[in-house]
Amino acid sequence: MSPLQRMGRWVGQHLVLMGGLLVIVYMFVPIFVVVLMSFNKPKSKLIYRFDSFTLQNWLHPCTDQSMCSALSRSIQIGLLATVVATVLGTLMAFALVRHRFEGRAVANLLVFLPMASPEIVMGSSLLALFVAAGFGGQLGFWTILIAHIMFCLSFVVVTVRARLAGLDNNLEQAAMDLYATEAQTFRRVTLPLVFPGILGAALLSFSLSFDDFIITNLNAGNTTTFPMYVWGVAQRGVPMQVNVVGTVMFLVSIAIVVGAELNRRRQEKALA
């Protein structure tokens, strides 16, 4: 076999691997840049380039007060919207799966609609609604919250509903047969079995709320959320602390994914 042939074979055998690696590099380059830039000490605000290493951005993330207040507002809205949407959406999912009522089929369909319609349509119609209802002057935290709860709700209902539909309702009857009252049945059987769905819905809600821009921007008035802040400063030079926030967000997501995976493996190991 000539060296050329051997090389050809090697390439052939590793082509898929190479392709995969390239895709991963492609996906992670932006994140790498964010992490890198969080340690950057720029010479000029306007030139986005790695100049020299510093820990200042990490030690003093709130140099720009308005960034931190936007960030904390976004987190507050995210958490509130998540809690309200998860509770409401879970209740709705239970109603849609467990109860036979007039208009159930229609309700099932309508729940999908907010997910399917373009954000710009939802955002502008909400704005129109707020203005028409006389809240045009009070756009801000609460209107953003209402908007976020609204679009998170559909995702929660759909996620929890899928989980519930896959649940054998013989299990709840078995629990009742084994002396569990209605409340105990819910706590010991229904909730644990549906919980992964609810947790997934909550995580999804938070990330949807945290990075929403279009609907938020339309209904925010003078209030600024984190995405709006980044958008606003993009023209005059983004402070490096934004990259610190980005890196932290990235690490938190990784922690959640890895944690879930470890938990799964641990359970499997305990069973083996």
């Binding site: 054998d168 013989n170 299990l171 009857q173 078995a174 629990a175 009742m176 047969d177 084994l178 002396y179 569990a180 009252t181 105990q184 010991r188 059987v189 644990p192 079995l193 305990a270 069973l271």
Partner: protein, 392 residues
């Protein structure tokens, strides 16, 4: 139709009935009546089988006893206490579900402990270990249900219900999903456990063999009503309806005309031959001139060469022609075409003392009068024939 099983110890009418007593229980789903005015007495400590074809209302009946379905009308009593409207968790009744319904998020130990924990029992650990030992699953306590085989899951379901020592244990076709071999061994297992713990078992099945091998008393159910109830041998020997005659084993049903009672017998004209049926095996008014069905089990029919002397005078019919012979080792199954066109099934034990008959041979058939039974002609002669688990 008598629907009261013989209680092991006769309690008579003095005091409350020890066991499960169901009276005119009815369940309607929208326009469909799944259970029609059902009466049932299950003596305490017995192994009771509810046998019937798919869709006849067995599960619905069990669910009403467990409290998982609300009856439309009727009553359910347990040891003299009316439990018809009690919540499921207030009844001393536990169920082994048709699909087991084990909790997938709990391990085997916690599945079995579930009932005890809800009732705040002090002895959870000891009881659970004992119970897992009884069903031979001590080594699997920390596994979860999906990691067990079908037979193991079935035993967990049994243990989970049994551990609560219910007054009545309801088993809804617990062996339905198992293969034949496992099924046979589980039948023996369940029967052993029942004898060991001495509780009342109500076992639902559509497998007649299963019901006959396991139960003390069988109730045959069809289209929401109990057709007949009694000990397995009693039901098999003296079925009261065409459905029972066909569903429990096989029967030859021959159309006859009643000639009237004569002593302890009812005489009938069986396509030209007179035959007599013992009165206690007659389940129709012996009105002279009315039509009826004479039933005879294939293994009770004797087959003989034309003119050979037979020992069943009065119930002998000449003129048969063997139309089919199948040799299955322990026995031979014949189909004998009678002069009026009907084919009679005959099973003969292969004792080796007689030769086999050939196809096309002329034969006489006969039977002892005490083996035949007389049924109502209004009933469908083919009721219960096409059952799911026809024994081959």
């Amino acid at each position: 139709m008598s629907q009261v099983a013989e209680a092991p110890e006769k309690s008579g009418d003095v005091g409350a009935y020890e066991g499960l007593r169901i009276r005119s229980l009815t369940k309607e789903f929208a326009s469909f009546t799944a259970v029609k005015s059902l009466d049932l007495d299950v003596p305490s400590g017995s192994f009771f089988a509810l046998l019937g074809p798919s869709g006849c209302g067995k599960t619905t009946t069990l669910r009403m006893v467990a409290g998982l379905e609300t009856p439309t009308s009727g009553s359910i009593e347990l040891s003299g206490k009316d439990i018809t409207w009690d919540k499921p968790y207030r009844r001393p009744v536990n169920t082994v579900f048709q699909n087991y319904a084990l909790f997938p998020h709990l391990d085997i130990y916690e599945n079995v402990a579930f009932g005890l924990r809800r009732r705040k029992s002090k002895e959870v650990d000891r009881s659970v270990r004992e119970m897992l030992q009884l069903v031979e699953l001590e080594s699997q306590t920390r596994k979860r249900p999906p990691q067990l085989s079908g037979g193991q899951q079935q035993r967990v379901a049994l243990a989970r219900a049994l551990i609560n020592s219910p007054e009545v244990l309801l088993l809804d076709e617990p062996l339905g999903a198992l293969d034949l071999k496992l099924r046979r061994s589980m039948q023996i297992e369940i029967k052993r456990i029942q004898t060991e713990v001495g509780l009342t078992f109500v076992h639902v099945t559509h497998d007649q063999e299963e019901a006959m091998t396991m139960a003390d008393t069988i109730a045959v159910m069809n289209q929401g009503v109990i057709e007949q109830m009694g000990a397995p041998a009693e039901l098999y020997d003296n079925p009261e309806t065409t459905f029972v005659a066909n569903f429990l084993g096989q029967s030859n049903l021959i159309e006859v005309e009643i000639r009237g009672p004569e002593g302890d017998f009812v005489v009938v004209d069986m396509q030209g031959t007179l035959a007599s049926i013992p009165t206690q095996r007659t389940h129709v008014q012996p009105t002279v001139g009315e039509k009826a069905w004479v039933g005879i089990r294939p293994e009770k029919v004797l087959i003989a060469e034309v003119g050979a002397s037979i020992d069943a005078p009065g119930n002998s019919i000449p003129g048969g022609v063997v139309s089919d012979v199948s040799f299955i080792g322990v026995s031979t199954q014949y189909l004998v075409r009678m002069p009026w066109g009907q084919e009679i099934q005959v099973f003969e034990q292969n004792t080796g003392r007689r030769r086999l008959f050939r196809q096309g041979e002329q034969v006489d058939i006969s039977w002892h009068p005490e083996y035949a039974f007389l049924l109502d002609h209004h009933q469908d002669a083919s009721a219960g024939v096409d059952k799911v688990d026809a024994p081959s």
